[in-house]
């Protein structure tokens, strides 16, 4: 993934945010969107565990575009698997990439543009969107598939793939903080020798690792509540790791040129898409 969308591509995209159709088709050619489409339907025929690894990479490099919605439409919408058709969806009250997408799932009546905090994710808001829940049979769920028994395309899978992106981001910001702490010198040596910095980094790793096992296990089991739990831990890891990464970077992290803010803003946006943490917590509590 880093080969297709490296740091130079990222910074170029920040300065001129638009959907890169060429990149999208390259991802399609590489089988990214068709990863879970059965082989006899022309896909790669892999499962959620592999999809989660792919989206972790997408989160790590801050891949722009409605990748989750396009991925989930791959077996369903003509051209989505190949990256020719860009698909987005109404996620809670928000729709990312509405103007750039070819197909929109969900009801966008009354959608108004939002000046998005994330320079890499244009947003529209649908103020009267019905509340999305994690119920796979929710009629408002834009991901409800034609076959109600196919677990792959229900809202909790979208949520899990976003959790995987959050995990990739949390891992990357942890690494970035560690790199900075190893090399930035203050007070006569690398700042990473101070316990205050070390312990920030250690807590970042712990958050990322806990999110990792939660995301991977939810992918293996396909369980709805496991996905809700993974989402909670991954949202938390992505947002808090980005903030701690900024703290470790100090003033240098506060510049536009640093990537830290891109991770933080995207983590905020991802956490704001779909049913959100409140609903996930309620779902998990209800099952106790």
């Amino acid at each position: 993934m880093e080969g297709r969308f490296g740091r130079d591509a990222l910074r170029a995209a920040v300065e001129a945010p638009a959907l890169d159709r060429e990149l999208w088709r390259a991802l399609g050619d590489a089988g990214f969107f068709a990863l879970c489409v059965p082989e006899d339907a022309g896909g790669v025929g892999l499962g959620l565990p592999e999809a989660v690894l792919a989206f972790e990479e997408a989160g790590r490099v801050l891949l722009p575009g409605p990748a989750v919605a396009t991925f989930l439409a791959a077996g369903d919408v003509e051209g989505a698997a190949a990256g020719e058709t860009v698909v987005t969806a109404v996620e809670g009250e928000l729709v990312p990439w509405l103007e750039e997408a070819d197909v929109v799932r969900g009801d966008t009546d009354g959608a108004v543009p939002v000046r998005s905090v994330d320079p890499l994710t244009p947003l529209h808001r649908v103020p009267d969107a019905p509340n999305t829940s994690h119920d796979p049979h929710d009629p408002h769920d834009p991901y409800t598939p034609h076959d109600p028994h196919a677990p792959r395309t229900s809202a909790h899978v979208a949520s899990l793939l976003r959790a995987a992106e959050q995990l990739g981001s949390a891992t990357r910001t942890c690494e970035s903080a560690v790199e900075h702490a190893r090399t930035r010198e203050q007070f006569g040596g690398p700042v990473g020798r101070f316990q205050a910095v070390q312990h920030l980094c250690a807590d970042m790793l712990v958050r990322a690792e806990l999110a990792r096992v939660a995301v991977y296990a939810a992918a293996v089991t396909g369980d709805r509540l496991a996905a809700a739990g993974a989402r909670l831990l991954a949202d938390d890891a992505a947002v808090r790791n980005a903030r701690d990464c900024l703290q470790v970077h100090g003033g240098m992290g506060f510049t536009w040129e640093s990537d830290v803010h891109l991770h933080l803003k995207r983590a905020w946006v991802r956490a704001g898409l779909g049913a959100g943490a409140r609903q996930a917590e309620e779902d998990l509590a209800a099952a106790l």
């Binding site: 565990p49 560690v178 702490a181 190893r182 040596g189 690398p190 990473g192 020798r193 101070f194 316990q195 910095v197 070390q198 312990h199 980094c201 250690a202 807590d203 790793l205 712990v206 690792e209 806990l210 999110a211 096992v213 939660a214 991977y216 296990a217 293996v220 089991t221 496991a226 809700a228 739990g229 993974a230 909670l232 831990l233 409140r278 996930a280 917590e281 309620e282 779902d283 998990l284 509590a285 209800a286 099952a287 106790l288």
Partner: protein
């Protein structure tokens, strides 16, 4: 992430479940948690039953996955906690299994598995807490014995134990010998002359810990496990192993507790508080993930041949705080009842306060993660 089990593992699980379903209802009620002589009789009796039923060897001879299944199923079934056998089964035993001679294994392991002999741990000292390697209990050779003098603290079950796994300094620290060298691992018979056991009362009011004072106690050289001066390595191998799996039963218990808390909150009306409800929901995600992390650590151990490595520190760091948050949430569910020692969870809340301190404080664990996992420069 491998969450599947082999047929052999599933059949082991099924057999164990059946046996537990059969045996548990007939067990007598356990003694009070701080009745140590009572606990010894109870726990060792239970251990003997496991041994006779063929589950004795699971503690350290079986594959890590079988051990995981064993700990998961016994906890899920509500079987007695290992209690006074904790050190023997989960610490001294694995050390002897890994580092002892065939004679030592034959002498010490079967009685642990049968529950005939109880072990305690003599590691910490009053002046060597977080800095365990600075321990000062001295041992010197006199013929075929070591003569040991010093004092140990936080020795659980010392009053009822038959043996103590003891770390002593056999070579003084010097310019040539750093503090991690010069330490030796000994099996100390607790009935030897010169041992004084002083019960130590914890903030929870219980006395499962003791201070052990050693005054020229003679320990046969044959009781040494591993080489002289190599005791730090001998004990650390086990410690790192235990961090990965010693809490399996507890995590299962925490998940059960969350269900009990929800039940109590639904009964007493606090379930209407959305903030409390959501907090329990989030804790449920935490403990499910901690359970997955345990499985992950065990499967890593299987892959690498026994040592789960630094995953243990990651687990220990998060688990100890999550456990404290769990009991804080329990206090919120109980309301004023959280101030009542008769109510469930109040004593456990007090005990949970030790989790961020015992077996390496959270501060030490973060250092380990930062330096050994993340490769940050040696802390200052």
């Amino acid at each position: 992430m491998d969450l599947t089990y082999t047929e052999e593992e599933e059949s082991f699980r099924a057999g164990l479940r059946d046996w537990l379903a059969d045996v548990l209802p007939a067990l007598p009620a356990g003694p009070a948690p701080d009745d140590w002589p009572g606990r010894r009789a109870y726990d060792t009796g239970w251990q003997r039953m496991l041994y006779d039923a063929g589950y004795g060897e699971v503690h350290w001879d079986a594959a890590p996955t079988l051990r995981l299944i064993f700990l998961e199923e016994t906890e899920k079934a509500g079987a007695p906690y290992v209690g006074a056998n904790f050190v023997g089964l989960l610490h001294a035993g694995p050390t002897i299994a890994a580092e002892g001679t065939p004679e030592q294994r034959a002498r010490w392991l079967p009685p642990v598995l049968r529950g005939d002999e109880v072990w305690c741990q003599g590691f910490s000292e009053p002046d060597a807490g977080s800095d365990l390697a600075s321990l000062r209990t001295r041992a010197w050779r006199d013929g075929d014995c070591y003569v040991v003098s010093g004092s140990k603290i936080w020795t659980s079950h010392a009053e009822v134990a038959d043996w103590c796994e003891l770390l002593v300094r056999t070579t003084p620290v010097s310019a040539e010998v750093p503090k991690h060298r010069g330490i030796t691992w000994l099996a100390l018979p607790m009935d030897a002359a010169g041992i004084t056991v002083r019960p130590l009362r914890t903030l929870a009011g219980s006395t499962e810990f003791a201070e052990v004072i050693l005054d020229e106690v003679r320990v046969p050289v044959a009781n040494r496990v591993g080489a002289e001066d190599d005791g730090w390595r001998v004990s650390m191998v086990t410690l790192s192993f235990e961090r990965g799996t010693a809490f399996v039963g507890e995590v299962v218990a925490c998940r059960r507790l969350l269900g009990e808390l929800a039940g109590e909150a639904r009964a007493n009306g606090r379930w209407d508080d959305a903030a409390l409800r959501r907090r329990l929901g989030r804790l449920s995600a935490e403990f499910t993930a901690l359970w997955r992390l345990t499985q992950w650590n065990v499967s890593e151990a299987r892959r690498t041949g026994g040592v789960p490595g630094t995953g243990g520190s990651v687990f220990k760091l998060r688990y100890s705080h999550a456990r404290q948050e769990l009991y804080d949430a329990a206090a919120d569910v109980l309301g004023p009842g959280a101030l009542d020692l008769e109510r469930p969870w109040t004593l456990e809340r007090l005990s949970a306060l030790s989790y961020t301190i015992a077996a390496g404080t959270s501060q030490i664990q973060r250092n380990i993660v930062a330096e050994r996992v993340l490769g940050l420069p040696k802390g200052r």
